[in-house]
Amino acid sequence: MDALMLARLQFAITTVYHFFFVPLTLGLSILVALMETFYVRTGREVYKRMTKFWGKLFVINFAMGVVTGIVQEFQFGMNWSEYSRFVGDIFGAPLAIEALMAFFLESTFLGIWIFGWDKLSKGLHAAAIWIVAIGSNVSALWILIANSFMQEPVGYAIENGRAVMTNFFEVILNPNIFYMFPHVLMSGLATAGFFVLAISAYHLLRKNETDLFRRSFQLAAVVAAIASFVVALNGHDQAQHMVESQPMKMAAAEALWETESPASFSIITIGNLSGSSEVFSLRLPRMLCLLSYNQLDCEIKGMNQLQSEYEAMYGPGDYTPPPFIPYWSFRIMVGAGFLMIGLSVYALFLVMAEMFDRRTLALKIFQWALLLPYIANTAGWLLTEVGRFPWAVYGLVTLEEGVSNMVSPGLVWFSLIGYILIYGALIFATVYLLVKYSKAGPAPASQAEADQSEPDSDAMPSLVGAQD
């Protein structure tokens, strides 16, 4: 493999791995903050124990997000130095602002939160986790602003062969960010919702700490249902924006070689996606028009036509992404997303009907449903990034032009193998700790504190808790 392919592989592996941890950080920080707010407002011991239990899992996951995140910031310079030179004037700014505005905030206040239980007042302590939640999500906003520039460059001019920023506000108000940030924010909440549902289901099946896990399940069901639903609605808007801003990505995601009018939506294809020997394809007529433009008549450009248009615009070259990854990752993401909507709505229904802790089969399914958000998150990024091929910045600079010119394939091999070994070993340690603490359940209530807490049997206390 040449240095370009190795650098791409390294980016893909380290980014996907990093993003195993990020969505849970984004969403669970908010859930833990809500739990602690319930504790502050009601003074009930159960919410404190809930906060501590989920908080511990949050911290383990957070640590992995932090240490794998450093690699991401360094990688642009190490493997993509020509890209960094070309767009540094624009791309560096959101990264620096992210560190200054968000990384300091989340790391400082997480330290305060973890070690400050006995050192701060209740309210101040809860404020610390809210600041962590805000910091994490603001950090996601800035990195997505940077990524949006790669998807849809705005606010720049080309001077002396380099892109320079001409309007900061255009860069941070990139049209793409209005689709991308809510999508990631809601995916994080959905991930956290399914995480809490799964572990609560595990304990409810074993009749362990039922009061605490009932409340956790209730909160998670509400969050997961809302977030999964909004993610899908927002994903629909995002796809419509993609047809406009990156038509080639949509064509690749549909494996649509020839322009079609009205365009049908391919549900599944058996055979290969090269367009020449389609064995079987289940297609919904006009559906792609509905998805892309909210109407029944439209024309969606195929990859062949776009390729010739791009050649006319950018000169000869290969502008067609290999459709395999975009096509299948799109279907896997959407499929997992619909399953998540179905399951979380079902969870919500069970909560409303007050029968969720008796449905053994359902609880077993919720345990396994934890995989769905991880599958959807990974597939979503594969679609977004692979579908941009061959561009590093859409229409401006290709991956080939962006790769480091002085770094030998041997060096990239070395670091790639190094990351695979380190990351491979660390995932075992992390999963081991997460499973161990998940199964162990919350720490036993101390006697003095247990005496204070009053028994209660109302059905949805965690939802109305704030008004108690």
Partner: protein, 338 residues
């Protein structure tokens, strides 16, 4: 002063903040298995830096981000040029960071001793590599006319750079030992004080050697003439004063003086570099400077506004976090978070 110079200073400040803050937690990390003789004591050592190490490390991330934003050519040349050392630095930072968080989360003695090694070796390797990298920055590295680093990995391992690496390691050990003396009680405190007293002389000797080598290995003398320079001498004086302060048991002051020593060592290095950011050892004209490596004036202006708003805010709340955890850590297992 133009914006390019302002950003050069700001990046210097970020690195100084990083070395002063993460410097003591690197030192604490290197000392952890030696000063903590049993599990509880090792936990005490970790708990002294537990609330702070992550935020300390963010100074490095911010310095990296600021370099990317203000001097993208510097970022691109340095990060692709120092490829292997940076990969090793990342590996060390990953292992030690995770070790600090994971170490006490399982009772198994093998688990704990593995992560204790990771904390110690990870801190040592990171400190060594950062020292090597900065020594190379001031000494100059082979950079061609196209701003590309054309030396290999072993080019970076010259004796001067290695001396820089060793200087960083010993200085951080002293800095960390003094921090532990301030933050612990009983046996751990006594051992930390002993390490601090024993480390003082080697640190002064090695730092003096490094300073003398710096006069000959860099163009500092060209800039200063026979004047040895106020900043490097003040830095050395600060380190010398640590001996008296340790004898008088004034650990807060001693910590302040090692902080000054670290900060002035870095100020000296950035003074040598200015107005260059990557010195070419092949041809002085090929060096990257704050002008040919910088972002556009527009980007620098935007970033200046952002920095002027957020740097003071960060300093306030990070300072507050040190205030919250100002008390000494006592070796009682039930009071230890990690």
């Amino acid at each position: 002063m133009d914006l390019n110079t302002l950003w050069f200073i700001l990046i210097a400040v970020l690195y100084i903040g990083f070395f002063v803050l993460e410097g003591f937690d690197f030192g604490v990390g290197m000392l952890q298995p030696f000063i903590g003789k049993n599990d509880v004591e090792r936990r005490v050592v970790i708990n002294t830096i537990g609330p702070h190490w992550d935020a300390n490390e963010v100074w490095l991330l911010t310095a990296g981000g600021a370099t990317f934003a203000a001097f993208p050519m510097w970022y691109a040349t340095m990060f692709s040029g120092f490829y292997l050392p940076l990969f090793l630095l990342l590996a060390a930072l990953i292992m030690r960071g995770l070790a600090l968080e994971f170490r006490s989360k399982d009772e198994n003695p093998k688990w704990r001793s593995f992560w204790d090694y990771a904390i110690c070796v990870g801190s040592l390797v990171a400190a060594l590599l950062l020292g090597v990298a900065f020594a190379n920055l001031v000494r100059g590295v082979p950079i061609d006319a196209e701003m590309n680093y054309v030396g290999g990995f072993f080019n970076l391992l010259n004796p001067y750079a290695l001396l820089g690496g060793v200087s960083a390691v010993v200085l951080f050990i002293l800095h960390g030992a003094i921090f532990l003396s301030m933050k612990t009680t009983g046996n751990v405190e006594e051992r930390a004080k002993k390490v601090a007293r024993r480390m003082w002389l080697p640190v002064v000797i090695i730092m003096l050697l490094f300073l003398i080598a710096t006069y000959f290995q860099t163009d500092l003398l060209l800039q200063l003439g026979i004047n040895p320079g106020l900043i490097p001498l003040a830095g050395m004086a600060a380190l010398l004063s640590v001996w008296f302060l340790l004898r008088k048991e004034r650990f807060g002051w001693a910590f302040g003086m090692t902080s000054v020593g670290i900060a002035f060592a870095l100020v000296t290095m950035f003074q040598i570099m200015y107005p260059r950011v990557m010195i070419s050892s092949l041809n002085p004209d090929w060096s990257l400077t704050i002008y040919n490596a910088s972002s556009s004036p527009y980007t620098l202006t935007v970033m200046t506004i952002v920095a002027l708003i957020f740097v003071p805010i960060v300093l306030i709340y990070q300072g507050w976090s040190y205030w919250i955890f100002r008390k000494r850590i006592v070796a009682k297992p039930e009071t230890l978070t990690y």
